[in-house]
C-alpha cells in the first residue's frame, strides 16, 4: 500500500483507485491526506443517503400537519403528537393500531413461513439432483419470479372472488361455488376469500414462493458436496442427507429467506389494496398509503412521517443487524462463477 501511493502519477482519481480491495486490517498504512479525502467522499454519499431520511424524521417530530416552507433537516421541536395520534387513531375508520399491526404480522409472517417451507425441498431438488425435466421445471418456477405480482393479480382476484360463504337465512350456510343457496335466495355475504387476509396471503405466496426457491437454491449450490458424499458412503439415504446434513447447514439461509419474504410483504400494499376493502383487515402499509392522497397538500405530513417511521423502523433494525447474512445469501447464488 505505502509503496503504491508513491507511484509517480499524481492524479487524484488515479490515487483514489490505487487501493487494495481485500478485507485485511492495515489502517496505519493510509496516509492522512487520503484518509481525509476519502472521508470527505463517504460523507458526501452519507449526506445523500440521509437527506430524505432526515427530512422524514424532522417531519415526524413536528406538531403541524403542513410542510415547512423552507428546508428543515433537523427537528426544531421534539413533539410526539404525531406518533400519539397515529397510535391512537391510525385511520379515519374505527380500527386500532394493534389490529393493523396484527394484520401486518399475520400476513408477512405467514407468507414468509409458508413460502419457505414449501420452497425448501424444491430448492434442494434443483440444487442437487440431475433429472430429465430439470431445466423445464426450473424455467417454470423462475418465470413467475420475473413477472410482477400485479401480472398475476387479475386472475387471482377473479378466482378468489368466487369463494364465498353465504348466510342463506334459517341457519343455512352455503359455500359458493360448491353449494349455493336455494334458488331465489340471494343470501348474505359472510366471507369472501378475495376480501380476506387469507386470500391476500395466497396471492402473495404466488410471488414469494419462486423467490424463496431461487434464493435457497443459490445458497445450497455453495455448500460443498463432500459432506453429502461422505454421508452417502456411510449409508445415509437421500432423505437423511437432506434432513440431517443439508438442512442444518442451510439454517442461516433459511432465516434470511424467511426474513426477506417478511420484509417484502411487510411493506407490500398493492395487492392488499387491490383485494381488501374492509378497514378492519387493513395492514400498516395500506394505512400509510391511505394517508397519501392525490394532492400533496392534503397529506397530514407529520402523521404520515410518524407512521412511515413506525413501519420502517423494525425492518431497518433487523436488516442492519442481519446485514452480513442477508447480503451473503443474496449474492451466494450469484458468485458461483
Amino acid at each position: 500500500m505505502t509503496t503504491l501511493t508513491k507511484t509517480p502519477n499524481k492524479n487524484i482519481i488515479v490515487r483514489f483507485f490505487n487501493m487494495n480491495t481485500s478485507n485485511e486490517v492495515g489502517g496505519r498504512d493510509l496516509p492522512l491526506w487520503r484518509q481525509i479525502l476519502l472521508q470527505l467522499l463517504t460523507l458526501i454519499v452519507a449526506a445523500e443517503v440521509m437527506f430524505p431520511i432526515m427530512y422524514i424524521i424532522t417531519l415526524s417530530f413536528s406538531s403541524k400537519t403542513t410542510r415547512p416552507s423552507t428546508l428543515e433537516l433537523f427537528p426544531k421541536e421534539l413533539s410526539l403528537t404525531a406518533y400519539k395520534q397515529v397510535l391512537d387513531h391510525p385511520t379515519a375508520n374505527p380500527v386500532t393500531f394493534t389490529q393493523l399491526l396484527t394484520n401486518s404480522f399475520k400476513l408477512s409472517v405467514g407468507v414468509g413461513l409458508v413460502a419457505l417451507l414449501v420452497a425448501v425441498t424444491a430448492a434442494y431438488a434443483f440444487s442437487r439432483f440431475k433429472f430429465k425435466a430439470r431445466q423445464v421445471l426450473m424455467v417454470l418456477v423462475f418465470i413467475p419470479l420475473l413477472m410482477p405480482a400485479v401480472g398475476l393479480s387479475t386472475p387471482l382476484y377473479l378466482l378468489m372472488n368466487q369463494f364465498r360463504l353465504l348466510d342463506c337465512g334459517k341457519g343455512i350456510t352455503a359455500f359458493y361455488p360448491l353449494v349455493s343457496c336455494a334458488s331465489g335466495v340471494t343470501g348474505k355475504l359472510v366471507f369472501n376469500l378475495r376480501d380476506s387476509l387469507l386470500g391476500v396471503g395466497i396471492a402473495m405466496i404466488a410471488g414469494a414462493l419462486p423467490f424463496a426457491v431461487w434464493n435457497l437454491k443459490g445458497y445450497l449450490d455453495t455448500i460443498p458436496l463432500d459432506l453429502e458424499e461422505a454421508a452417502a458412503i456411510d449409508g445415509a439415504d437421500s432423505n437423511q442427507i437432506f434432513f440431517q446434513i443439508v438442512l442444518p447447514l442451510a439454517i442461516p439461509q433459511l432465516a434470511v429467506t424467511f426474513f426477506l419474504g417478511f420484509i417484502g410483504h411487510w411493506q407490500e400494499f398493492a395487492l392488499s389494496w387491490l383485494f381488501l376493502s374492509q378497514p378492519q383487515s387493513y395492514t400498516l402499509a395500506m394505512t400509510l398509503y391511505n394517508m397519501t392522497g392525490q394532492y400533496a397538500n392534503a397529506i397530514p405530513w407529520n402523521r404520515f412521517a410518524a407512521m412511515a417511521i413506525i413501519v420502517a423502523l423494525p425492518v431497518a433494525v433487523i436488516y442492519i443487524a442481519l446485514q452480513k447474512y442477508i447480503t451473503g445469501g443474496l449474492t451466494s447464488g450469484a458468485v458461483k462463477g
Partner: protein, 338 residues
C-alpha cells in the same frame, strides 16, 4: 478409487428410487404453484378473450353476460383503442425498457465505486457507513416515493429550494420554479424517439438512484472481499499502476457477481410498481407509465378485467423473453455440477 466404487454400488441399488426422488422433492412446491400460479395463468388466458367486467364478478366465467370476443382485447391494446387517454402500447413498452436500462447503467458503476471506496483499508468509521448506506433498501417504497415526490414539489420542494440557493449565489434574483413532475415538454426531445421523456423522468431517475445503488454496493462489497490480496501484491510488484489493477483485477473479478446483480436490478426497476405509482402515478399524461402501473390501473380503477388479463399476458410474454435472454447471461438454471 474406493469412494467411486462405493458410489457405483449405492447407485445401482436405488436406481429407480433415485429416478423418482427429485420429483418427490418437487411435489410440495409444484402443487402449490399449480393451484395459485399455473391455474390462474390459464384462467387469465381465458379471461383475456372475454369482455369480463364488474358485472361478471359474481359468477366468473359462468356469467350469462359474458361474451367471448376473440383477440379484440389484444388488438385494442396494441392499437391503443382503450377507454384511456394518452395510451400507446409501444411507447409504454419502449419507455419501460429504457427506464430499467438507464437505471441499471447508473446504479451498477456507482455501486462499485462506492463499494471500492468503502473497502479501503484503514478507512475510519467503515461500519457506521455500511449501516447508513444500507438504509435506502429498508425504507418502504411508499415512503421513498412520497418523500421524493415532495422533494420535487414545485412549491415546497427541497430541490427547488436548493436550486434557488445556488441561483441566488450566482448573482441572479428570484426563486427557481421548476415544475418537475407536471411539466410535459421534454428537455431533450430527441432522446427517445417513441415518446417524450418529461422532466419527471429525470426526477425519478434521481430518486431511484438513491434507492438503487446501495444494493449494488452491497453485492460489490461481498465480491470485493473475496478477491485475494495476493493478486494486488503480485500486480504491484510487477509494476501495475492503480488504474491497471482496478481494470485488470477488480473489474474482471467483480463481473461474476455484478452481472446477476445487474439482471436483478433490471427486473426490479422494470417492475418498480410502488415507486412509480406513488411518484407520478404515471403522469404527466401517462408519459412515465410503466407496464405494471398501467396493468394495475386497468384492474383497480378502470375495472376492465378482460383487457387487464390480455395486458398481463403481454407482460408475461415480455417477462419470458427477458428471462430467456438474462438466463443466457447469468446461467441461473444451469446445474451445480455443470
Amino acid at each position: 478409487m474406493a469412494t467411486a466404487t462405493a458410489k457405483m454400488t449405492a447407485k445401482s441399488r436405488i436406481d429407480i428410487r433415485k429416478a423418482i426422488l427429485p420429483y418427490l422433492y418437487l411435489v410440495p412446491a409444484f402443487t402449490v404453484m399449480a393451484i395459485i400460479t399455473f391455474y390462474p395463468l390459464i384462467y387469465q388466458g381465458i379471461v383475456s378473450f372475454t369482455d369480463f367486467q364488474t358485472k361478471d364478478l359474481r359468477f366468473g366465467l359462468a356469467s350469462p353476460q359474458l361474451h367471448y370476443i376473440g383477440f379484440k382485447n389484444y388488438i385494442d391494446i396494441l392499437t391503443g383503442n382503450l377507454p384511456v387517454q394518452n395510451f400507446e402500447f409501444l411507447r409504454v413498452l419502449v419507455y419501460n425498457f429504457w427506464w430499467a436500462i438507464t437505471n441499471v447503467m447508473l446504479h451498477v458503476p456507482a455501486g462499485i465505486v462506492i463499494a471500492v471506496l468503502l473497502n479501503t483499508q484503514g478507512l475510519w468509521f467503515r461500519k457506521i457507513y455500511r449501516a447508513v448506506f444500507i438504509l435506502p433498501v429498508v425504507v418502504p417504497p411508499i415512503v421513498v416515493a412520497t418523500v421524493w415526490r415532495n422533494i420535487f414539489d414545485d412549491q415546497y420542494g427541497a430541490m427547488n429550494q436548493f436550486l434557488t440557493y445556488i441561483y441566488n449565489f450566482l448573482g441572479s434574483v428570484g426563486p427557481v420554479h421548476i415544475r418537475w413532475l407536471t411539466e410535459y415538454t421534454p428537455p431533450i426531445p430527441w432522446l427517445l424517439p417513441t415518446g417524450p421523456l418529461p422532466l419527471a423522468y429525470y426526477a425519478m431517475m434521481i430518486a431511484n438512484f438513491w434507492l438503487g445503488w446501495p444494493f449494488m454496493t452491497v453485492v460489490a462489497t461481498g465480491a470485493l472481499q473475496s478477491i485475494p490480496k495476493d493478486l494486488y501484491e503480485a500486480a504491484s510488484i510487477d509494476g501495475a499502476t492503480g488504474p491497471q489493477q482496478f481494470w485488470n483485477i477488480t473489474v474482471p473479478l467483480l463481473r461474476p457477481a455484478m452481472i446477476p446483480a445487474a439482471v436483478y436490478g433490471f427486473t426490479t426497476s422494470f417492475n418498480l410498481f410502488a415507486f412509480v405509482y406513488f411518484f407520478t402515478q404515471g403522469g404527466p399524461a401517462r408519459s412515465t407509465e410503466i407496464l405494471v402501473t398501467f396493468a394495475y390501473d386497468l384492474v383497480r380503477n378502470l375495472r376492465l378485467f378482460g383487457v387487464a388479463a390480455a395486458f398481463s399476458v403481454f407482460i408475461f410474454m415480455i417477462a419470458m423473453v427477458v428471462f430467456l435472454i438474462t438466463n443466457r447471461i447469468t446461467r441461473a438454471t444451469e446445474s451445480y455440477t455443470a
